[in-house]
């Protein structure tokens, strides 16, 4: 199995998503509140996984722009749920050594007194191994 294929399989496994179910209606992209911030758009995630171009996916800005608001998951008519693919790709990055998106130093700078704990907890959960 090529490395690309393996990564693609990994993404499918982590997410539990079958990208082949997608009918390319774009409802995910139509629903996404972060659409304009993303370089790879939600509806394109499926193609990247099918084409096994996971490198592009994991280097995409979109991973960090996704709000995990589940709008795409809720509305997907094909039960594909691109949000899960994005999350899986993010997992792939942070599970790698050195893949942390957020360092404790950086964190310290971002802090403001009003920040609720859950934001910090979740940021660590989402961005770090």
């Amino acid at each position: 199995m090529t490395a690309q294929k393996k990564q693609a399989e990994q993404i499918k496994e982590i997410s539990g998503v079958n990208p082949l179910k997608c009918m390319k209606c774009g409802k995910c992209s139509a629903s996404c509140p972060s659409y304009n911030e993303m370089d790879i758009k939600p509806h394109q995630f499926v193609s990247y996984v099918i084409n096994e171009d996971i490198e592009a996916l994991v280097h995409s800005k979109s991973l960090w722009k996704c709000l995990s608001c589940f709008a795409c998951i809720e509305r997907c008519p094909r039960d594909v749920k691109p949000g899960k693919l994005i999350d899986a790709a993010r997992q792939l990055v942070v599970r790698k050594k050195g893949g942390d998106y957020l360092s404790p130093d950086e964190m310290a700078q971002l802090l403001d007194p009003e920040i609720p704990q859950q934001l910090l907890v979740s940021a660590f959960r989402r961005y770090r191994r």
Binding site: C25, G26, Y35, K41
Partner: protein, 662 residues
């Protein structure tokens, strides 16, 4: 003991090249009961058949085995040949030594050995064959059509024109169905009423058509050629014979707040009403639930104003029992409810409407008298957005898995009509795919784009966001330009999925007609028998079988009519003699077999039996030959072996097993 003849076919070299046909014939003579065996170049040829017939006559054969191609190919040929020579056609068995032997094996010895085994199995079976005679059942020369939409009307007209009596049962107060609610029809833009009304009138006037409106099928018994149906004619509270259709009662009725079904709830109607002006029959009904007289006992205005004295508050439901030879289901469709699609704000904004509601808005007899206006404030819209595939092609549990088929075309129609009549209104269509397979269909869609400037955007809408100023912000995506779109609109039209009328499930159960998970009736064969139900004598017309547009519905209605006529034209029906039979001495009457019978062919009766001197009344399974199709499900369910299948009896199959394992 039978006198069996075995005929081994060379099929040119198809069989003979791999199977030693002479050897097979030679071996056949050693089988019990075999008194004649021969081989020939082409058994199915005239000459081959003549040889078989000659042998039957000369050797007084009581059964024959033809070792040849698949029975699916020539069983009928050989049965007919045998019958002409005076042999019961069910005394013929085929050993398939071509498809199942010579064509798949290369080694002559091996293939010959197998051919001999197959021959032996067939001989063993034919030794146990008994002459079977198809039963006969009579045909009532009258058809029932359930549903009075365009499908039902067309089917009824076609059957009636062929000279048979037809009854239409329609549950609403008028025939006409969904088509009567449409404004214009694609791809020709005819006025729907203009082409439908004449058909309704014709059906009403036809001497061989009886229309029962405001009526429902309540009970169905019997079988192909001989159904007995109870029809409940709901109390109309108006005497059909006296009413002149003047309409004064509807005008004067003080209860006017009931949502109009015909206008999809966009306007109201009186409690005594005809659904629309061209209704047939043009006799109103009193909706007792909303009638002041029925609810409070006080009122009676309609009776007072009716000069014909047609109002009859005492009228009761009436049950009509009628016999039919054939039943056509034409129960049609409705749009799905959009409760689960709140992201499109259907329940939050009056200006988000379904396509069928738009039909009513566009229609001169509709709630806005045909003016295109927003239902919230009556203002003329400047921007209209259409959203396709709302609830169609869904793999989630909110919608339907299928394509509703008609939406692409009617949306193009709507877009075109709006642009034509109101050139200052911009029309945008969000679509996933535009599906236009049909004569002049793609051209029609292209006209919408090219001549009428309708803006088609490939991409779905995620959310419709009502704005404080009453406009609607449509958040969608353009997949080709790869950008998210925020579009302000004054109206949004949803192409909601269509689904079979929910009542069809009830009707299918009564008819024992099979139905799929989406409530569409199943056809007997998807390709070759598309207008017949697997249940004999039941035919399918229109959307009850699957989504289709008007031209398709009308063609299918005609096809269903022809199938029904084909049935009604017969005086008697020959029934398949390979049916199940219950041995009254073995039957326990335990009712297990009826549980698995897909045709409702098994019933039970208390019968006096004489079981070796014991005389007693026993509950015995009885198979109706006309209904039984011979699947054999009952035979395996029966623990005592009382139920057996003619032509494929337990002993016959066991004989084959024995011969093959010898």
């Amino acid at each position: 003991m039978q006198r069996v003849g075995v005929f081994v076919c060379h099929c040119g070299s198809n069989i003979a090249a791999t199977v030693d046909v002479k050897k097979v014939a030679e071996m056949a003579l050693m089988e019990p009961g075999v008194v004649h065996a021969e081989d020939y170049q082409y058994m199915c040829s005239e000459a081959g058949q003549a040889r078989i017939q000659e042998a039957i006559r000369e050797k007084q054969l009581t059964g024959i085995v033809v070792c040849s191609c698949s029975p699916r190919m020539h069983e009928t040929t050989f049965r007919t040949a045998a019958q002409r020579a005076g042999l019961n056609p069910y005394m013929v068995e085929i050993a398939n030594i071509r498809e199942h032997c010579s064509w798949i094996h290369k080694d002559m010895e091996e293939a010959t050995k197998k051919a001999v085994l197959l021959m032996r199995a067939a001989v063993a079976k034919v030794n146990l064959n008994t002459p079977l005679r198809p039963g006969e059942s009579r045909v009532t020369k009258r058809a029932l059509v359930i549903g009075g939409g365009i499908a039902g009307i067309q089917t009824a007209l076609d059957i009636a024109d062929a000279g048979y009596e037809v009854d239409i049962v329609e549950k609403t107060p008028s025939i006409g169905g969904r088509m009567s609610q449409l404004d214009k029809t694609f791809p020709t833009l005819d006025c729907s009423a203009c082409i439908l009304t004449p058909k309704m009138v014709e059906a009403n006037a036809h001497e061989r058509i009886t229309i029962y409106t405001y009526s429902e099928v309540e009970k169905v018994t019997g079988f192909v050629g001989d159904f007995t149906v109870d029809i409940r004619k709901k109390a109309r509270s108006v005497d059909m014979n006296k009413c002149t259709g003047c309409g004064v009662c509807q005008e004067k009725c003080p209860s006017k707040k009931t949502p109009s079904e015909f206008n999809r709830g966009l306007s109201t109607r009186s409690a005594i009403y005809t659904p629309f002006a061209q209704a047939i029959p043009n006799v109103p009904v009193i909706d007792r639930e909303h009638c002041i007289k029925f609810q409070t006992g006080k009122c009676g205005v309609c009776a007072k104003v009716c000069q014909a004295g047609a109002i009859d508050y005492e009228q009761k439901d009436e049950i009509i029992t009628q016999k039919y030879g054939a039943i056509v289901v034409a129960t049609g469709f409705d749009m799905i409810r959009l409760d689960d699609y709140d992201e499109y704000a259907y329940s939050q904004s009056k200006d988000v409407v379904t396509s069928l509601e738009l039909e009513r808005i566009m229609n001169a007899a509709g709630p806005t008298k045909g003016h295109l206006e927003r239902l919230s404030d009556g203002k003329a819209p400047k921007e209209i957005v259409f959203i396709q595939c709302v609830g169609s092609r869904c793999a989630d549990n909110r919608g339907k898995s299928y394509c509703s088929k008609i939406c692409c075309m009617y949306t193009a129609k709507h877009a075109m009509l709006i642009r034509d009549k109101y050139p200052d209104v911009n029309v945008t269509v969000f679509y996933i795919d535009v599906r236009t397979p049909g004569k002049n269909f793609d051209e029609f869609y292209r006209r919408a784009v090219e001549e009428y400037g309708v803006n088609y955007i490939k991409g779905q809408v995620g959310k419709v966001i009502p704005q404080p100023d009453g406009r609607l912000l449509v958040q969608g995506v353009d997949l080709i330009d790869n950008r998210q779109i925020l579009k302000e609109a004054d109206m949004v039209v949803l192409a909601a999925a269509i689904e079979p009328d929910p009542d069809v499930r009830k009707i299918a159960t009564m008819l024992t007609a099979s139905i799929d998970t989406n409530n569409f009736l199943t056809e007997a064969h998807a390709k070759l028998r598309p207008v017949e139900s697997p249940t004999a004598g039941i035919f399918l017309s229109g959307v009850c079988q699957g989504p289709k547009d008007i031209p398709e519905t009308v063609s299918q209605a005609g096809a269903a009519a022809v199938k029904a006529i084909g049935l009604l034209a017969k005086d008697k029906l020959l029934t398949n003699p390979c049916t199940a039979h219950s041995d009254e001495l073995l039957c326990n009457g335990c009712s297990q077999c009826a549980n698995v019978c897909p045709y409702g062919a098994i019933s039970y009766e208390d019968r006096q039996v004489n079981d070796h001197g014991i005389r007693e009344v026993r509950r015995i399974a009885v198979v109706n030959d006309a209904l039984c199709q011979g699947c054999g499900a009952c035979t395996v369910t029966c623990p005592s072996g009382a139920m057996d299948l003619q032509g494929f009896s337990n002993r016959q199959i066991l004989a084959e097993v024995d011969a093959l394992c010898r």
